[in-house]
Symmetry: C2
Subunit: 346 residues, 2 copies
């Protein structure tokens, strides 16, 4: 009658609410009430049940619970470049909030192909995550019927850095202004030929930064030259490689470069130093993000401080708010501030 054998037979975690109910001589409804600290259970019964729970190491199945209450207490996150320190820091912010609020985090694909990216979102939805945090969706992905369905149907969703063509919740920083400030700073320092090491072409963040770069020229009555915009990418190696190519050729070269992010900037600086070009005397470099490593780079990096941790926090908070919202949620946009940190590279 008492299913003790089951425990000893199959080991840890193989006892369920029915077993607990039988062992405690109460109904499973009562056990459920005890588990969830509901009122209407006598102290005596509560203790009896809790004793059994402890004794048999019972741990309620979150999956059964999820099925029943139609909430999984889980959010899905799709981040490209998880090994980019900037995103790692965001993750940390997300994670801290989720932890506090009792959510666990399901990780979706990182930078795979577009088709895999959509698959990954589909998987997360199949897992019935309560909400989705998405960073850097491929542009093409936004064409997928799946994604537009998702957004149209008010599935709780927060984008990091924004996405074209869709009106969703967004957490981002003032990329345009930040870039504007960085480039203005260079202009004020007398630079006229300022390059932009551009990030991924399908990134909205990159578009905004490029826009800020453009505006700085406009507002300072300096005609900006398209040839100084280089498609580079977002990795250390890419910054290094493009730096080497551009600055070892004899063509007309910029005297300063604003970079999409710190990784690229650090790569660039290394390529310049390898080419015996001095930083900042010959070429000034400004990065973006202010990752930890920025101040330890060969030439400590002048860069835009990007509050990655806070972005993660804000995104998680907004998402959880959207999840808890009963009504059709309004789409919100949270924009955090950045500031220029002057170090040695410019």
């Amino acid at each position: 009658m008492v299913p003790t054998f089951k425990f000893y037979l199959t080991g840890f975690m193989n006892i369920n609410i029915n077993d607990v109910a039988k062992l405690s001589n109460v109904s499973k409804a009562t056990v459920s009430a005890v588990i969830n600290n509901k009122v209407g259970v006598s102290e005596e019964t509560r203790e009896k049940v809790q004793g059994i729970i402890r004794k048999f190491n019972y741990r309620p199945s979150q999956v059964a619970r999820s099925l029943s209450i139609k909430k999984t207490k889980t959010i899905g996150i799709v981040i490209k470049e998880i090994d980019n320190p900037y995103f790692a820091r965001i993750m940390r912010g997300v994670f801290d909030i989720c932890s506090n609020e009792g959510y666990t985090v399901l990780l979706g694909s990182s930078e795979l192909s577009v088709s895999k990216e959509v698959k990954s979102l589909e998987t997360l939805v199949s897992q019935r995550v309560d909400g989705l945090l998405v960073s850097g969706l491929h542009e093409e992905s936004s064409d997928s019927a799946f994604i537009s369905n998702l957004i149209r149907s008010n599935y709780p969703l927060v984008m990091l850095g924004g996405i074209k063509n869709f009106n969703t919740n967004v957490v981002t920083v003032n990329n345009v202004d930040a870039a504007y400030n960085a480039v203005t700073f260079l202009l004020k320092n007398g630079h006229k030929k300022i390059g932009y090491f551009s990030g991924p072409t399908n990134s909205l963040q990159n578009d905004d930064r490029k826009e800020g770069y453009r505006r700085a020229f406009a507002d300072n009555d300096i005609s900006f030259q398209k040839k100084y915009i280089y498609d580079v990418g977002s990795y250390l190696g890419e910054g290094y490689q493009h730096g080497k190519e551009i600055f070892s050729s004899s063509a007309d070269k910029p005297t300063a470069v604003f970079c999409y992010n710190d990784l690229v900037a650090i790569g660039l600086i290394n390529s310049l130093l390898d080419l015996q070009i001095r930083v900042p005397e010959d070429v000034a470099v400004v990065g973006f993000d202010d990752i930890d490593f920025a101040k330890y780079a060969k030439t400590p990096l002048t860069t835009i401080h990007n509050p990655a941790y806070e972005v993660g926090v804000a995104a998680a908070e907004l998402l959880i708010k959207q999840i808890n919202q009963k009504e059709k949620p309004l789409t919100e946009k949270v924009v955090l501030d950045t500031y220029l940190i002057k170090r040695n590279s410019a």
Copy 2:
């Protein structure tokens, strides 16, 4: 009769297997067969059902499925220092394998308190992850009844870097040998006073590296001095700060330092340069991990190449193997090789 209204009413993803069954005029068992590509369904029926599925954007609930089949196709991962590039790289390896094998990844706590660490594991178990990947458990956590239960009961579990007092599956690198090689290299270069910037004291990896450091002295008939072992930590800032303290004091200082990891080494190098101490002429520095930044550091870092990505891959593969193993699994130990990369810092 036809519950179409439901779809239009509640939006995306609110249709279930019963609805699909009704809309297709078949039983839910048949729908289930179609979803899972089982045989015994006529081509005609299959297409009819698939048509409905597409039309209504039906996506089976993984949570209901999990409850039924008692597998979640999910693994849990608990990693401290997710913003450490070394671990980020591991994550990537884990992720790639899991992706391929159809597993999603649930993230557990990062470096919180001991009690939270155990809580985090408990949460993952409640979520019924099929297996657990754990890195850098606090030493105290291993005392918890929960953890020993977990291990005793053969819950599929793989540790990264090992854990004291328990016999579990482990994926790690040959830390002792690697440290031995690094220190031997320094000894061969004529250094006698070699320091060790030690990592977290509760880390088995750190113990092994320290052991390798010790043995190198023993095998070279040089008496090693305990005073050259400094408790530092695992972060950039910690390396910098301790470097500053140690090398600005007038006491007897080492002429070379082997560091627990690259982050610490880079921090140390920066502190040395700030103190006008030349690297490697005055003090040689060797790191551990070979993170991307290592070669872009102020003094390109001589370090132990640690195959982080491969560690992640091996860990995920081992875990999935354990999950699929019907019998009581044997505990396995996978040890990957490292090698010394000579750059400029030593």
